[in-house]
């Protein structure tokens, strides 16, 4: 079963709509036991890294997620802030994050670009088990972006004043800074590739 983590600042219902549109069923998960039997776990993201980490802690989900994703290798998709909290640290409210991917999250330079980045940007995704090398336009809303330490963890890049990591990937962990659930047919296509894996 596909599980979508439903926390207060997230937009789990929008992700559920997109999953349903692709013909899959999914359940929203708010408690540890609701993650049992997950084939795919999606962590949507809206809001700040700090608030998201607090929500996950308050819901006592971190240990269960680490067990399922890091030990059991359950397929995982993080979206937007759901990508950012995978790194070790975010500048946003000085937040210590999950650290599944080495590196940190920093703010776009306001002297160069309008912050937040808001709109459709072209992403170049490198080949992965779910996709060939491809370019397409996806919808972004972010003031912060990931700086993975290991270049091998970068799955996709886009340009906003400078090149930045638009998607990261490591083993069974996939994550997009853009909103796959709100990126039209391109987003649905990528989500479909993840779900069919």
């Amino acid at each position: 079963m596909i599980k979508i983590i439903d926390y207060k600042a997230g937009n789990a219902p929008s992700v559920l709509n997109a999953v349903n549109r692709l013909g899959y069923c999914a359940e929203l998960a708010r408690r540890e036991e609701e993650l049992h039997g997950a084939s795919h776990i999606i962590l949507p993201g809206v809001g700040s890294a700090g608030a998201t980490m607090r929500s996950l802690r308050d819901m006592a989900l971190i240990e269960a997620l680490e067990h399922l994703v890091l030990n059991e290798k359950t397929l995982f998709l993080g979206i937007c802030v759901g990508l950012q909290i995978l790194l070790e640290y975010s500048e946003e409210e000085n937040t210590r994050c999950l650290g599944w991917i080495k590196g940190r999250v920093v703010r776009f330079d306001e002297s160069k670009v309008r912050v937040p980045q808001m709109g459709w940007n072209e992403v170049c995704l490198s080949e992965s088990p779910i996709n060939p090398t491809m370019r397409d336009y996806f919808y972004f809303v972010n003031s912060y972006y990931a700086l993975p330490e290991d270049m091998c963890d970068i799955w996709g890049v886009a340009d906003y004043g400078e090149e930045f990591a638009a998607a990261v990937r490591k083993d069974n962990i996939f994550a997009a800074q853009f909103h796959v659930e709100k990126s039209g047919e391109a987003g649905l296509n990528l989500l479909g590739r993840f779900l069919s894996c």
């Binding site: 306001e110 309008r114 709100k182």
Partner: protein
Amino acid sequence: MLTKRLIACFDIIDGMVTKAVQFQDNILVAPAEEMAGAMYDAQIDELIFYDITASAQKRPIDIETVKKVARRVFIPFTVGGGIKTLGDMYEALKAGAEKISVDSMAVRNPGIITEGAKAFGSQCVVLSVQAKYTGLTHSGYEVYIDGARLATGMDAVEWFKRGQELGAGEICVNSIDRDGTLSGYDLKLMKLAERAVSIPVIASGGAGAPEHLSELFSETQAQAAIISSMLYSPRIERNYTVRELKAYLADKNIAVRPWKDNNSGKNPTI
């Protein structure tokens, strides 16, 4: 590279899309989710819905319509009208909206911008400003509220800046003078806005032809444009498709998300 956005904006009354000219004489066009679906299929970049009678009728925003739209479209959409409290914002976001637009209510209670930004993030809060050239304020542009009927005496440019300070993530600048006139955006107003703030600016009011869009994007740093009448107003002589507008802008070297033939079933690859 981040592209310029084309946004379709719908005024909703009882779940039906309407189109107003200078905020008067609403005419019904179609159910909101149908219109939203058609615009999604046409590859519009974003949608905005204003529940325009919610405030006057003292009721919250029409959540059922928001939910219906969210099940049909997979692009960002903003909702406004009848949003008074954090609870109203939360309900609209949970129903599937990405952003909440605040307008008259934010003039009366600016603190709601900050509260919304703190609770859900700045990116969720769009400050919508109705501005009219009256020559009575510092910039000459004055903020109006309540469906552009009531002058506030506030300077529009000062309000844009204050909105950003309070935590808005985007400013939608509506020119009352140009609304429904199809004579082009108020470029002077849009320039004042984008220079006053560092957050994205959406230009609204006046679009009637493709060249109005290319003027806007080449002469100002506005990041998005509302193009409602051009797309669907039955009152306009010639409607344009999103595909035509995107092709026109691309030809003028303006970065847009290209229209794509989704029926081919293939994604572009390198």
